[in-house]
Symmetry: C2
Subunit: 233 residues, 2 copies
Amino acid sequence: MEMKVIARIENRFTGKFGIPRQSGLADTEEARIVFLPEFRNPDALRGIEGYSHLWILWDFSEAERKEAWSPTVRPPRLGGNTRMGVFATRSPYRPNPIGLSSVRLVRVETDTPEGSVLVVSGADLMNGTPIYDIKPYLPYTDCHTDATSGFAGEYVDYRLAVDLPADIKAEALALGMDEGMLQDLQNVLSLDPRPAYQNDPDRRYGMSYGDYEVSFFVSDSCIHVSNIRLRSS
Amino acid sequence: MEMKVIARIENRFTGKFGIPRQSGLADTEEARIVFLPEFRNPDALRGIEGYSHLWILWDFSEAERKEAWSPTVRPPRLGGNTRMGVFATRSPYRPNPIGLSSVRLVRVETDTPEGSVLVVSGADLMNGTPIYDIKPYLPYTDCHTDATSGFAGEYVDYRLAVDLPADIKAEALALGMDEGMLQDLQNVLSLDPRPAYQNDPDRRYGMSYGDYEVSFFVSDSCIHVSNIRLRSS
């Protein structure tokens, strides 16, 4: 079957590095789902505002997939050395590179220059990612409170402290960031963007965030922001 | 993007009519997920037994889709007259006809003549449906206990009584059904396979179930089984 792109996402995750590993983790991050002209029909969204959450089916291939699928993959949260079956993971390196993410529906914007747009939060998609389908989240069939997870569940429940020095914050504000965006950035950074098998305080990281490039290093379970600049500069 | 079929489902839903409307409703119904030879690699399932639930991404087109997508659809549970936006429903008549279902993982059967097979329960797929992807259900990102649903949530929580007369039960047993299968059948029937806008006690329904054809009618909120026979006879 041939899949048709129906929409694209617009958000601040302008680079691959630093995108949250699952949906819902960066729960304050808003994104816009903009439909392609062929699917820009307000009727297709009728009643969607009755749902608090949506599923997005999306394309791993542009943002993340670099190679063919493999029967086993090395989940970053297992230290990068343990191989798991691809169907026991959410890895992008799958036979059909379709991502599945639940997001919160914040609001429906009607009559924008791009037609009706869905504003959602918590998406773990890179800016520009093609979207194939949007479905309502149905609690009675999608929410399994008795579900147990294997290895993936053990590694998610930590956050790093984030140190944003006052001079760098002032510089970011001067460059056009606002307090809310800085708060969201710190929320994303606290999720620890590093591969789990890296723990080197001398290593410098760079992450794209909206129009900005954020530099940081990690030492003593704390992310230290060392620079924020405009990406184009 | 071109989607590759990786597996097919084998279960008792041998006809379209009577398949539960969402996954999990017929929670005792077991199904086998049999991989195509190209994807019949036990390594690809390594670690999957650590999960209680799985997501299946599957193809609506063979079992259910008869027409092109439409911006609005008429959900059966709303009486068939109210039009909702396709992205506010789980309707099969979507731009990309991909179904999304969560199922319970019962066990992994290794070394069968068809390689490693996943046995799952609660699937709402027709027998033979092509499957595109299998992902673990991750409670921390997939289970939203605070999620609210719109119109769909109001219509699901009822069951019909099922009347299986003793003589028909005896006949079914003589034809090779066992008690467990009859119990599962009654569970499926209690979900009310009728379109929601039909309420005619004189109407006769026929439903394929495994190798059997089950006839029934509905009167006074009770499903009356009127015949069970072998399909080929």
